[in-house]
Structure formats: structure tokens, C-alpha cells
């Protein structure tokens, strides 16, 4: 999760006065617009104001910018060099305060201990380099699937660089994404009871020579494009307004988690959208939902795997293994004892050098998968999130939930949440597809009672990161 949205109460609708203090519009604003959007030309500012003032716009709960001056905007456009990056990266990690007690013992990558979310939570300052430029620090928050949110130091240039990474990946898929100030460059969509919503210029994504006075809406003549974070939840933004706003702003790219992307398939909403591509992240994108999005919009769906702690790790544009990015990221797998898992399934452990404020060595993601090769490059097959658990049959045999995923995917389910109780019985909440078929298969595999609860949409499984599999003890 990318912000405090994770702190929102569960999915059930509550009284309107449930508004959490930090969702009161403007309550978290601390910067001036000049700090937020340095060197934003007047024409671009007018453009931004026109989007903010759109009659069907949502309540803008936040005012957010990229904070980059022109030199930083340029730097963020370029991927950090990766030639022989690992030795210098490990040097930086060795010098971290958290590693002081291990000095002299950390030679090769293998010597570095595995670190986990708990260690970051206990001593986040110890994982930030002593010489880091803290003026570039902004607060990130990682919810994980369990436990309290972890406050992380994000680097403003690194955050902006993600935009250019997505741009580069889409270019590789043949997506011709050029700045068009008449459209929103990007809509980042969420679906939750309350959320931060904002509009911001996209750093460096500027049409050459402006847009030639494009149109009646007073859009920027200097070519600056904008992005918006939008909440698709009708409790927060009436559907009629959503449709009117999206029709006018016509986002080029739509990025969201699977639950929010599924909302785009509602016919009246889908009818006004013409995306060049769709980007999914944060949660497992099922083949059925990918197919539905691809079919409806006729564009590539990029599935990006990453953690807030590590930044983006891998991607795919089909249902095959995730390709590990060619950025400063290295993926290993380890078994339950922390030993290399080889070709077997294991926990993904990531060494990540994108965020200069949080250089990580051998970070346990809590996610599981198998390391394979795809086109001669490392890739991750059978990726399962932190909810990775085993269910048990009536005879006491452990069943990997990957098998259950297979049944559910074959049945065309868009999303699900399965809970096995202490008595062995299973409750399956499933959105889309033919869940009866999946339930029959699961019943046969586990020889346990399976109670099926069909829900209309993925979002009905809950906001945030609903667990796909849970075993109660």
C-alpha cells in the first residue's frame, strides 16, 4: 500500500462521521505549493487548477506534489546505472548503523543475515545510511497483510523514477505513451471507504512545444501533464460524477490494485475509458481478471510485483512467471530454515538498491515463489503473497494453497478469500467465475466441508489487502 489508506476501517459502511482525522481535506498539508511543485509554470498551474475545479471532481483530500526541482526531475527520468551495482550497494549496507555489530564479518552477499519487516520496524533509523540526504525523505507506509503499518523513508527522486520505470516497461510492450496534456497521463485508482485523493503534475512528462492550445477546457499550453489519485468507492464519490470526470479527463494509463481495477469493468464506467494500458499492483491479479480487462479495453495489462520496502521487483504482461526487473534488484529464494531453496519453492528474499534512503540486503518479503528462467533472465513462478499457508485434508495431510489457487483460477474466479477453521471446515468467499465448480474440487481435494459465499465484486471481499487464504488455529 502506498499510503495511510491502509488505516481505513474495514469494508462495512459506517456513518458519514467516521471520517478519520487525516482524511479531512487538507489536514495533512504542510508544504507550500512552490515546495510541492517547484518551478511549475503558470500555465501548468492553471491546468492543474482546472482539474481540481472540475464540477464532477471528487473531494480532494490531499495536496501532493513530486517536490522535485528541474535538475531532480531530469535525474529521475534516468534509471540508476546497474553495471556492477551490487558491490557498492553491499558496501553501503555494511556501513548502516544496524549492521555495526557485524562489521568485518560481511564479505559476500551470502554473509549478510536475512532481515525482515520486524527488524525494520524495530530500528528503521538503523537502516538509513548515515550520509543520506534526509531533505529528500518523505514518509511511506507499508501495511503488509498483518500487523501495524510500518513507516518507511521514501526518496522523492526514487518515487518519481517509478513513473519512468512503468513508462519504459510499457514501451517494451509496444505501448506508445506520449504526453498529451488534453488527457490525464495517469489515474491511480483505489477503492476504499476513504482515501487520499489528489492531482499532481507528472515530473518530466511534458509535451514538446505545448499542446497547441488544445481545447476549450483551458488546458496547459506548456505541455505539462497531470496525474490524479481517485477513489472509485461510490460511498466516497458518486458514480455519476466518477463517469463524468473520467469521460472528460480520459486517463491514458490506469493503475490500481485488482479490486479497484475490477470496478473499471462496470459497463457505464468502462464505456468512457480509453486507456493505453493498465497497470496492476499490490495484490494477486487473477488470470480471469486479467483476461476481462484485456478483453474489455483491448490493451496490455502490466502486473507489477513489488513491496514498498524494496520498490518494484518484477513484472509480467501475461500469466507466466514474473520477470525480475533489470533495475538494482536481486531475488533469492530460501526455505523455512533460511537456506537457499534452489529450484524449489521458497520465500522470496530481495536485495534492493533503488531507494538511497533504504538500501536493503536480503530482505525477507514474506512472499513465496520459485526462481526460474524466462528468456534467459531470472523470473519468479508461482508467486504467492504473504498469506501463503497450507490447508489440511480430513486425513491430516498438508495441501499447498497453490493447488487451491489452481482450482479457483480454472473456474474463472476474479478474486477470493478462503478460511479454514480449526475444525477443518472451509468458508470460501468468491467473486466471479463458477465458484460452485471450484468448491466441488476443493471439497474433493480436502475431504472437508466447504461453505460457499458468492460475492458480486472483488472489492466485496474487503478493502486493503484481504487475505486470499487463512487457516485458523
Amino acid at each position: 500500500m502506498s499510503d495511510a489508506g491502509a488505516a481505513v476501517p474495514a469494508a462495512e459502511s459506517g456513518p458519514a462521521d467516521l471520517l478519520l482525522p487525516h482524511y479531512v481535506p487538507g489536514s495533512t498539508v504542510a508544504l507550500s505549493d512552490d515546495e510541492r511543485w517547484p518551478a511549475l509554470p503558470a500555465a501548468a498551474r492553471a491546468h492543474l487548477d482546472s482539474v481540481l475545479a472540475h464540477p464532477a471532481a471528487p473531494v480532494w483530500r490531499h495536496r501532493v506534489g513530486h517536490r522535485l526541482d528541474p535538475a531532480a526531475v531530469e535525474r529521475a527520468r534516468t534509471e540508476l546505472p546497474t553495471d556492477d551495482w551490487l558491490p557498492a550497494h553491499l558496501d553501503a549496507v555494511r556501513e548502516l548503523p544496524a549492521y555495526r555489530g557485524l562489521r568485518g564479518r560481511l564479505h559476500a552477499l551470502d554473509d549478510f543475515p536475512l532481515v525482515s519487516r520486524a527488524e525494520l520496524a524495530a530500528d528503521i533509523g538503523g537502516f538509513v545510511p548515515r550520509d543520506a540526504d534526509l531533505s529528500r525523505l518523505v514518509q511511506g507506509s507499508s501495511s503488509g497483510s498483518t500487523g501495524a503499518a510500518l513507516r518507511l523513508p521514501d526518496d522523492i527522486e526514487d518515487v518519481a523514477r517509478t513513473f519512468w520505470l512503468v513508462h519504459r516497461l510499457l514501451a517494451g510492450l509496444g505501448v506508445d505513451w506520449r504526453p498529451d496534456p488534453r488527457r490525464l497521463a495517469l489515474a491511480l485508482v483505489v477503492h476504499q471507504r476513504q482515501a487520499f485523493t489528489y492531482v499532481s503534475p507528472v515530473p518530466g512528462f511534458i509535451a514538446e512545444g505545448g499542446d497547441g492550445g488544445a481545447g476549450a477546457t483551458g488546458r496547459s499550453a506548456d505541455g505539462q501533464t497531470l496525474m490524479a489519485r481517485l477513489n472509485l468507492d461510490p460511498r466516497d464519490w458518486p458514480t455519476t460524477d466518477r463517469i463524468a470526470f473520467l469521460r472528460d479527463q480520459d486517463p491514458q494509463l490506469i493503475s490500481g490494485n485488482p479490486s479497484s481495477l475490477a470496478t473499471l469493468l462496470e459497463p457505464a464506467t468502462a464505456a468512457v475509458l480509453n486507456p493505453l494500458a493498465i497497470v496492476s499492483g499490490a495484490l494477486h491479479l487473477t488470470p480471469a481478471l486479467r483476461a476481462a480487462l484485456e478483453t474489455r479495453f483491448g490493451v496490455p495489462v502490466l502486473d507489477l510485483y513489488g513491496l514498498h520496502e524494496t520498490r518494484p521487483i518484477a513484472w509480467r504482461a501475461d500469466d507466466g512467471p514474473f520477470r525480475v526487473l533489470d533495475t538494482r534488484v536481486l531475488v533469492e529464494t530460501v526455505d523455512a530454515a533460511g537456506r537457499p531453496a534452489g529450484a524449489a519453492r521458497g520465500e522470496l528474499v530481495v536485495t534492493a538498491g533503488s531507494n538511497p534512503l533504504l538500501p536493503l540486503a536480503r530482505y525477507r518479503t514474506g512472499d513465496h515463489g520459485r526462481l526460474v528462467e524466462r528468456d534467459g533472465r531470472p523470473a519468479i513462478a508461482d508467486l504467492e503473497g504473504r498469506e501463503h499457508v497450507e490447508f489440511v485434508t480430513a486425513g491430516g495431510r498438508a495441501i499447498n494453497t497453490v493447488d487451491l489457487t489452481q482450482y479457483l483460477q480454472d473456474a474463472g474466479a476474479l478474486a477470493w478469500s478462503l478460511v479454514q477453521r480449526a475444525d477443518g471446515s472451509v468458508t470460501a468467499r468468491v467473486a466471479g467465475g463458477d465458484p460452485e465448480r471450484a468448491a466441488r474440487s476443493i471439497r474433493a481435494l480436502l475431504a472437508q466441508p466447504v461453505e460457499l459465499d458468492r460475492v458480486a465484486r472483488p472489492i466485496d471481499l474487503g478493502e486493503g489487502k484481504p487475505r486470499r487464504f487463512l487457516r485458523e488455529s
Binding site: 495533512t28 557485524l102 514518509q139 518515487v159 518494484p312
Partner: protein, 231 residues
Amino acid sequence: MSDSSGVGAGAGGGDARGSSTLGGPGPLDRWFALRLDETRVWDALAPGPALEVVQTRISSAPQSFLAESISLRALTGDVLAEAPEHVRTTAAAIADGAQRDPASRQGAALALWLWASHELLAPFRPELDVRWAHSSIGALAFRLAPLVEPRRWLADGESREEAARLFLLWSGRTPAGEDAATARARWERRDTIARDAALRELVADEEHRRRVQAALAEKRAAEAAARYSHE
């Protein structure tokens, strides 16, 4: 209390954070866990008793205070019976944290002896302010004792001066006849941490951690930056 002493809200031993997370415990972890602000304390000092008086009292500590069998928790309760609630609570937590480690136990006991000597021998002149009791106990138990054995405070003049100066500092006092600048210069010549590069690095690490925590907590940082994908 915290306004005048620079003492933060942290209680002794109650902070789960270990500074040397990955390399096992470090010698100053418990001191850092008290979250006392070593830079601010210098701005909060009032004139105190003569250094020699404090040193002499350290030398004359009764053996019973140094015995392995001593219960620091009980001793703290007795010596600080008249102290404000939060001072007693924090001091009790420090006592619990120091009890199992011989050096820290003796360091805390010697600090408690200095506070007890007010009644058992004679009041310090000027009198100490009991609202500072816990920070002075924490400093001797967790800042000095892990580095310089309390037995040496008794046997060695320089170590005794270091202990006495540290006690006065964390009691919010300058030694009689010294202004803050003089007291600070003389302290830094005696301070084991200041004279040891590796220990200085530990302190610098800790200051860095606090800067990061403060930067993360700033409202400016909380405003975040625009994002482009979900993670």
C-alpha cells in the same frame, strides 16, 4: 520534569528496540533506550555541589550497596520514597534492567547511594533536585558502568571524577565553581565515550537514528509525494 531536565518519556529497559539489531546487543543499548537527550541537558544545568564532595561520597559508599544480593528495586523504593510518581516508576524500571548485570547493578547502586547520602550523611549544598534522580541513576548504570567497572570508580581517581561529573550532569547540576562551558570541556576530557572512536561511532549512530525518526515524524514528510503505482 522533562521540560527542565531534557529527560524524555522513555522508561528504562522498557524499550524493545536494540540499537545493534543484527549484531547482538551493544554496550550502550540500554542507555540509548532511555532516550535521554545528551545535547539538551547542557542547556538545563543549575549550579551544584563541589565535585570533590561527590567524589568523596563515591569513595565512601557502604559495601552493602555493592553486594550482589542487593535488590535494586527495593533500594530504589526506599531511597526515592519521596520522589514524584514518574521518577519512581522510571527509576524502578532502570533498577529492574540493571539488576542482572553486575556492572550496571553496582553503577545504579552507587547512584542510589549518592541520593541516599543526602539523608544518611548530609545534604548536598546546594541540594539536588529529586526530579532528576532517575536520569542520574540511568547514566551511571547504563552509560558509564558498561564501559568502566564501578569498582574502578572507587579505586581510580580519574574514573571517580568521570562518575562524579556524569552524576552531576544527569542530576542537572554543574560542579561548584564551574560554568556550563567549563564543566563541559572538563567532562569531555574525562568521558570514556569521547575518548574512544568506536564508542563515538555508536553515539553518532544513535543520533542518526533520532534524526531519521524525527524526519519521518515531520508533517512535511507525512505529506508524502505523488505516486504512480501500487505496491
